[in-house]
C-alpha cells in the first residue's frame, strides 16, 4: 500500500470510491452486507464516495475505485473515463461491469425495438445500442466476477489492496468448489445439465448444493472449452434454444459465452 502522508505528516488512510453504472445495485450492496466487517473497513479506509451509503462525498483522486454496472448510455461513456482518470486502481465488481450483464441481451436485438416495447416515447430515452463491460472503455486493474459478487471475494480484493498484494481469487471452475464442499455432482448423479465445468468459481457451488445445475452467473472460468462442453449439455437434454438461452443470461457479453452462443445460433 502506498504510504502517503498528509501535509501534517500523519499517515493518510487510503480512499475508497464506489461507482454505479447500469446495474441492480446488488454488487455494491454486497459491501453493506459485510455486517461483521463494515465498521472495521471504515476504520481502515476513507469511504470517500459511496452514494448509496453516504451523502458526504470527498473529491478524488481515489486510491481504489469499485465500479458496478455496464456502459449503456452516451453519458456513461464519458463518465467511466472520468472515473478512470480519478482512480489509482479500478476494480470492476460483478457480471454487468465485467461482462455486460443481462441488459447486454440488447446486443443481439434492435435497441430501437426494445425501447419501443418499454417506452411509449423512446425519443425521451438516451440509450446506446449495446451494453458493454467497463474494460471495453478504459483499462481495468482487476475484475471481480459474479451476479452478484461473493462477499468473501470482495473483502479479499479490499484487503489485498490495503496490503499491496494481488487478490487471491482463484479462476478455476465451479467443479473445484463442488469437490471442495463434497457436493455430489448433479450431472453425474442425476443427469442435470450444469454449467459448472465452464463457470468461474467464487459462489461456493451454491446451485449444485441446492440440487440445481449451475447457470453460469460468475461467467467463464480461465479454462473453458465450450465446443467440447456444449455437446454434454445436449446429452443431458438441452436443445439448441436452451443452450443459447443459458449462455445468454447474466454474462452475455463474456467472449467465450458469446462466441459459443453464436455458434449454436447458426445451427438453428
Amino acid at each position: 500500500m502506498p504510504t502517503d502522508e498528509t501535509p501534517g505528516g500523519a499517515p493518510r488512510r487510503p480512499t475508497l470510491a464506489v461507482w454505479k453504472f447500469a446495474s441492480c445495485d446488488g454488487c455494491q450492496l454486497t459491501l453493506l452486507d459485510c455486517e461483521d466487517e463494515l465498521l472495521g473497513i471504515a476504520e481502515k479506509v476513507d469511504i470517500s464516495h459511496f452514494l448509496e451509503a453516504s451523502s458526504a462525498t470527498a473529491p478524488g483522486p481515489y486510491d481504489l475505485s469499485l465500479v458496478e454496472g455496464s456502459v449503456t448510455t452516451p453519458r456513461d461513456v464519458e463518465r467511466i473515463r472520468h472515473v478512470r482518470a480519478v482512480s489509482r486502481r479500478l476494480v470492476t465488481i460483478g457480471a454487468c461491469a465485467t461482462a455486460g450483464g443481462v441488459q447486454a441481451l440488447r446486443n443481439y436485438a434492435d435497441v430501437a425495438e426494445f425501447q419501443a416495447v418499454v417506452y411509449a416515447r423512446p425519443d425521451y430515452v438516451a440509450a446506446l445500442a449495446t451494453s458493454t463491460p467497463i474494460a471495453a472503455h478504459v483499462p481495468v486493474d482487476f475484475e471481480l466476477r459474479g451476479c452478484p459478487i461473493d462477499r468473501g471475494q470482495l473483502l479479499e480484493v479490499i484487503t489485498a489492496h490495503l496490503a499491496g498484494r494481488t487478490p487471491g481469487v482463484p479462476r478455476h471452475s465451479v467443479c473445484f468448489e463442488c469437490k471442495q464442499r463434497g457436493t455430489t455432482c448433479v450431472t453425474v448423479a442425476h443427469g442435470t445439465p450444469c454449467l459448472g465445468p465452464v463457470t468461474h468459481a467464487g459462489c461456493g457451488a451454491l446451485c449444485p448444493t441446492m440440487g440445481r445445475g449451475c447457470y453460469g452467473c460468475f461467467g467463464p472460468s480461465d479454462s473453458t472449452n465450450l465446443p467440447a462442453f456444449v455437446p454434454l449439455l445436449r446429452r443431458d437434454g438441452m436443445d439448441t434454444l436452451d443452450v443459447v438461452r443459458v449462455l445468454r443470461t447474466f454474462n452475455t457479453a463474456a467472449e467465450e459465452f458469446d462466441a459459443a452462443s453464436r455458434d449454436e445460433e447458426e445451427l438453428r
Partner: protein, 459 residues
C-alpha cells in the same frame, strides 16, 4: 439572503437511495410550481428482453432488476407464471416462500432504517458517520440485517439473487433440524427489532400529512406479504367530510387480473421510469399503505410495539399519514417479520417434494407481492411451448413517483410559507422527503440531482 428573484439551485446527486435520480424544483417567487423527480438510471429494457425467454426464467432474470429486493421479483414472477399455467402453490411450500420473503423484509427494511434513513433524523451523513456517536444502535442494525440475510442464505443459498427459488416452489427444501439454529438467531433478532422500534420512535418528526390514495395487498387474517388482493384506501379528501381526518375511509378492492385497468402507466419526458396512476389518481404503496390496510392483522407483539411507539391504532381504523413516520412503520414491519418467521419455523414440516410441477400452457398470468417498498406486479403471456411473448412489470417506486413529487411540492411549500429557507435547507428537506419512501430507483428504471429554478416576482 433573498430568494425573491429568479434563480436556479442545482444540487449534486441524491444519496442514500438506491439508484440514480435528480430533482428539479420550479419556484416562482415563494411558490412552488413544479417538483419533478427525474430518474436517469439507464434503462435496461427488462420487459423487452424477457420476450422469447422460457417461462421458467423470469424469476432469475427479473431478480436482477433489483439487488435490494430480489425475492420480491422472484416471487411476483413465480406467482404470475404459475397463474398463467393454472398452478397454485400452497401449504408448506407457500409457508417457506413467506419465510424467505420475511428474510428480505428484515434485511431490506433494516438497511433503510439504519443505513439510509436514520442519519437524516440524527444529522449524520451515513451510518458509518452515525456509528461515531451511536455505535451500539448501528451495530444492532447490522446484527438485525444479518439475521434477515441468514434466512435468505439458508433458504435461498445467498442473500442477493438467491438461487433456490423456482416455479412451483424450491430446488431444495430445508430439514427441520436445519431451521432450528435459525430460530435461535431470530430470537435475538426479535429483541433487537423491538429495541429498534423504541429507538426510532424517539426521533423528532416534522408535522406532515399526505393525501394520496393508499394501495396494498390484503388478505384477511394475515399481514399480506407474498399474496393478497389489491386494496385501495382513498385519500380523506375524497371520502367526504369526517369528524376525524385520521379515520380510515372504507376500502375497495379489485381483482388482480384487472390491475392494468386500474393502475395505468404513462411516460414523462423527465424520467426513464414510467409514472402510474390508480384509477386516474395519485397513489402510494409501501409501508404506510400496508399499515393502514393490513395493520390490524399484525402479530400481538408487533401491534403492541406500534401502539407503544405512538402509531395510530389500525384496529380503531386510525391511519398514519405522516411520511416521516414511515421509519417507525418499517421498524414495526421488521419486528413483525421476525415474529412471523419464528411462527413459520415453529410450524414447519418439510413438504413431500420441493416443488410442484408447473407444465406450460398458453395464456396470461398475473402476480403481485408486497416488496419492501410496496406492491410489485408482474404479468406474463406465454405461448403453448412456454415461451414468454409479453411481459409487464409495475414496480412500487414507479407507482410512488407521483406521490413523492406531491410530497416534495407540499413540504417545500410549507417550508417556504414558514420563512425564507436557504437552498441548502431546501435540498436537505427534499432529500429527506424522498427517502421517506425508500425509493428503489434501479427498479423504477432508475440518484438525485436537485435543480431549483426560482423565477418571477414575489407574490
Amino acid at each position: 439572503m433573498t430568494h425573491r428573484g429568479s434563480r436556479v439551485l442545482h444540487v449534486g446527486s441524491l444519496s442514500r437511495v438506491e439508484g440514480e435520480s435528480a430533482l428539479r424544483l420550479n419556484l416562482i417567487g415563494d411558490r412552488v410550481t413544479h417538483a419533478r423527480l427525474a430518474i436517469y438510471e439507464p434503462p435496461r429494457f427488462f420487459e423487452a428482453l424477457l420476450r422469447g425467454r422460457s417461462y421458467t426464467e423470469p424469476p432469475d432474470i427479473t431478480s436482477r432488476i433489483c439487488g435490494i429486493c430480489p425475492v420480491a421479483y422472484q416471487l411476483s414472477a413465480c406467482r404470475a407464471v404459475e397463474d398463467a399455467c393454472g398452478v397454485v402453490v400452497d401449504g408448506q411450500l407457500a409457508a417457506l416462500r413467506r419465510l424467505l420473503y420475511c428474510g428480505e423484509w428484515i434485511e431490506s427494511q433494516t438497511l433503510h432504517i439504519h443505513l439510509l434513513h436514520a442519519p437524516d433524523f440524527l444529522g449524520r451523513d451515513s451510518a458509518i458517520d452515525l456509528a461515531r456517536t451511536h455505535r451500539s444502535d448501528v451495530e444492532r442494525g447490522l446484527r438485525l440485517k444479518q439475521a434477515g440475510n441468514t434466512i435468505l442464505e439458508l433458504l435461498g443459498g445467498r442473500a442477493i439473487h438467491p438461487v433456490n427459488v423456482r416455479l412451483g416452489g424450491f430446488h431444495r427444501v430445508p430439514t427441520v433440524a436445519e431451521l432450528r439454529p435459525l430460530a435461535e438467531t431470530l430470537l435475538r433478532a426479535r429483541d433487537d427489532a423491538a429495541q429498534t422500534v423504541r429507538w426510532v420512535a424517539g426521533f423528532e418528526f416534522p408535522d406532515a400529512e399526505c393525501d394520496h390514495d393508499l394501495l396494498a395487498l390484503s388478505e384477511p387474517g394475515t399481514y399480506a406479504i407474498e399474496s393478497g388482493t389489491p386494496t385501495v384506501m382513498p385519500a380523506p379528501r375524497t371520502a367526504g367530510p369526517r369528524p376525524d381526518g385520521n379515520r380510515a375511509p372504507p376500502t375497495r378492492t379489485f381483482a388482480l387480473p384487472t390491475f392494468g385497468d386500474h393502475v395505468v402507466e404513462h411516460q414523462v419526458p423527465h424520467s426513464t421510469a414510467l409514472h402510474s396512476r390508480l384509477d386516474g389518481r395519485r397513489h402510494l404503496t409501501g409501508s404506510l399503505a400496508r399499515y393502514a390496510i393490513s395493520g390490524r392483522w399484525l402479530s400481538p407483539l408487533a401491534l403492541q410495539a406500534a401502539l407503544d411507539a405512538g402509531l395510530a391504532d389500525p384496529r380503531q381504523a386510525a391511519v398514519c399519514r405522516n411520511p416521516f413516520r414511515s421509519i417507525i412503520v418499517r421498524a414495526v414491519e421488521v419486528l413483525y417479520a421476525v415474529d412471523e418467521a419464528l411462527r413459520l419455523i415453529a410450524s414447519y414440516e418439510p413438504p413431500l417434494r420441493p416443488a410442484v410441477p408447473v407444465p406450460p400452457r398458453p395464456g396470461t398470468g398475473h402476480g403481485a407481492t408486497e416488496a419492501p417498498r410496496g406492491l410489485l406486479y408482474h404479468r406474463y403471456t406465454l405461448d403453448a411451448r412456454g415461451t414468454v411473448t409479453d411481459a409487464v412489470l409495475v414496480p412500487p417506486t414507479a407507482q410512488n413517483q407521483g406521490a413523492i413529487e406531491e410530497d416534495l411540492r407540499r413540504q417545500v411549500q410549507d417550508r417556504l410559507d414558514a420563512g425564507d429557507p436557504t437552498d441548502a435547507a431546501l435540498t436537505a428537506l427534499c432529500e429527506r422527503v424522498i427517502r421517506n419512501h425508500d425509493p428503489c430507483i434501479s427498479c423504477s428504471a432508475h440518484f438525485l440531482d436537485l435543480t431549483v429554478d426560482r423565477a418571477g416576482p414575489a407574490r
